[in-house]
Amino acid sequence: MELTQMESRQPPPVRRLTPGTTLKSWPSARQPASVPAPELGQTPAQQNGTPLVTTKRTEREIVPTIDRMHVDEVSIAYGQKLAVRSVSLPIRQGEVLALIGPSGCGKTTLLRSLNRLTELTRTASLSGRITLDGTDIATLEPTTLRRRVTMVFQQPNPFPMSIFDNIAYVLREQARRRPRKGALRPAVEDALARAGLLEEVKDNLDHPALRLSGGQQQRLCIARALAARPEVLLLDEPCSALDPQSTKVIEDLVVKLREEVAVVIVTHNLQQAFRIADHTAFMYLGELVEYGSANALFGNPRQQRTRDYISGAFG
């Protein structure tokens, strides 16, 4: 496999509650609304003012926002096929931006273009402009960019090393001279603390990372991404491979992290998006259909398509 020939990943299909899952494992506040399945094109219970999602938003403080990245009229094509059409979005530190939409709508492609991972696919081409703190990211070295904009993937992928080495990996590669282990320890522990994992692994830093549970591995990946001290953190459906307990932990973590980094999260789980997002962008077939604050978009979407998607009419 060559890195330069990796095809774009197809986003996984939307997950439904499988028959075997017991609702007992879901805290009651998170049960999806029992709205009768609407026919396509019809407005559902919405008309009498009931909100479309009934889960509660995670508690949070209001923090000042700082503009970090700007996406300007960006279109991305793989060969002849347009995956993203002319999307413009702001990305700010202090808030969580959720990208939602059905499979194949281009949200993952857009996310990957933010740290230029789309370039790994030879047939990919991009028009438009993405800026980071005012600089066009196309003019930056990819390695520099990817340290300032780090990414956490859907499948936890800790390296086959110890926990310590996983976090220290980035620090060792960034440094001019190979730092001693003792010098790295504070930074490693700080990253683990910011990811909420330190307490659980404090005494076992030299154990292999692959022995952790799925949720712990994903938090390790988040810690690893944070160790690079990025300005923007990209999360590509980070909880889709995890159990609900781990999901909750990571969601709380993401809300807390938004104070230090700008967070962009792609998710197909609408309840999750509502819980954690400050702003939400709904994409469909590559277009940005609607963008707004989470309350506005979920409570009172202005576009019919958004309404249909959120009420479960398609996707």
Partner: protein, 336 residues
């Protein structure tokens, strides 16, 4: 009437049972033959071992070639002294040639495999694969021929100075048939084996790790080197071990380019060390192949063969065992 047209098919169970027994018997036969080979070679070699002990290989004293001559002319093994042999020069030559070529080949093969899998432009990648396959399939006698007609004269005429030749004339003659020629050509011969196995291992690294490393801002070279090479370690071990087994058994090429005297190259001779002749175990057996009619000589040659067989077998088994964990290693914790 219809019965004539119906094919009588034996009940499936009977067919299968016979087939399984038949194939099983075949398989057992082959295993038996090969284990018998091991046993027979060791049995034939035993008298020589018994007489000389380990110092047959690791002790030195006297000229090994002369000792071999004595063994040959002795004609019978009634006298224990007929089997006397101190073959350290031969063993040392084998160790040098094998060790040297494996070390050089490992480095070259690793870089070429990394290059081939990841960093070569497409057209070069498509060229390299058949090239490596070609190098792997050239018969060793052709390597030997090219070696003796090109490499040996080059070394003899251009690399060794006259004064160097003069300085060793009483003992040996430096004519280009040398350790250097043997190691260089052997490196080229065993590299394709390593490259093929390394490349296979490198290609099967889970892409999640490579993508994850790139997404942290580590550049392609370091990503590939640190992550891919590290996780392809089983393949590295397997390739090295199998190439070593191949290098150990090489007789034809080495007998054509590395000289025909049993001499232990001396590292303390400085540069001359590389130009000294070195005839290894396999080449020795080949050289004396016609003298096998004399029983004590036969025992001695089989002793050499036993050494080769045991080393090669152990290495092959090691290589096979090293290839096994590759699948297990990656299916932990939900990766891939």
């Amino acid at each position: 009437m219809d019965d004539e047209f119906l094919e009588y098919e034996e009940p499936a169970a009977n067919q299968d049972k016979r087939a399984e027994l038949g194939l099983g018997a075949l398989v057992c036969l082959v295993v038996f033959v090969l284990l018998a080979m091991l046993a027979f070679v060791l049995k034939e070699a035993w008298p020589a071992f018994a007489h000389n002990g380990l110092s047959m290989f690791f002790g030195s004293g006297g000229n090994a070639d002369q000792q071999l001559q004595t063994i040959f002319t002795a004609g019978s093994e009634n006298h224990a002294s007929n089997l006397f042999l101190r073959a350290w020069p031969i063993v040392w030559s084998t160790m040098l040639t094998t060790g040297g070529s494996v070390v050089f080949s490992f480095v070259c093969s690793l870089f070429v495999a990394v290059f081939m899998v990841e960093f070569a432009p497409g057209w070069l990648q498509r060229v390299l694969e058949p090239v490596i396959r070609l190098l792997a399939s050239v018969p060793s006698v052709i390597y030997g021929l090219v070696g003796v007609l090109v490499v040996v004269p080059f070394i003899g005429n251009h690399l060794i100075t006259q004064s160097e030749k003069a300085s060793v004339t009483p003992v040996i003659s430096l004519s280009g048939y040398s350790l250097l020629a043997g190691v260089v050509i052997l490196t080229v011969m065993i590299s394709p084996i390593m490259i093929a196995i390394f490349a296979e291992g490198l290609r099967s690294v889970p892409r999640g790790w490579l993508e994850g490393s790139l997404a942290l801002g580590v550049n392609r070279w370091r990503t590939f080197w640190k992550i891919a090479v590290m996780s392809a370690r089983p393949a590295l071990v397997a390739g090295t071990v199998l190439a070593t087994a191949r290098a150990l058994g090489e007789a034809v090429m080495l007998s054509m380019v590395a000289g025909t005297t049993a001499y232990a190259p001396n590292p303390f001779d400085g540069l001359i060390f590389f130009f000294e002749p070195s005839r290894g175990i396999a080449a020795t057996i080949l050289q004396y192949r016609d003298d096998i009619t004399s029983p004590p000589f036969e025992r001695t040659l089989f002793a050499f063969a036993a050494v080769l067989l045991i080393s090669a077998v152990s290495l092959s088994l090691l290589g096979w065992a090293a290839k096994q964990p590759q699948k297990r290693h990656f299916n932990v914790g939900g990766i891939v």
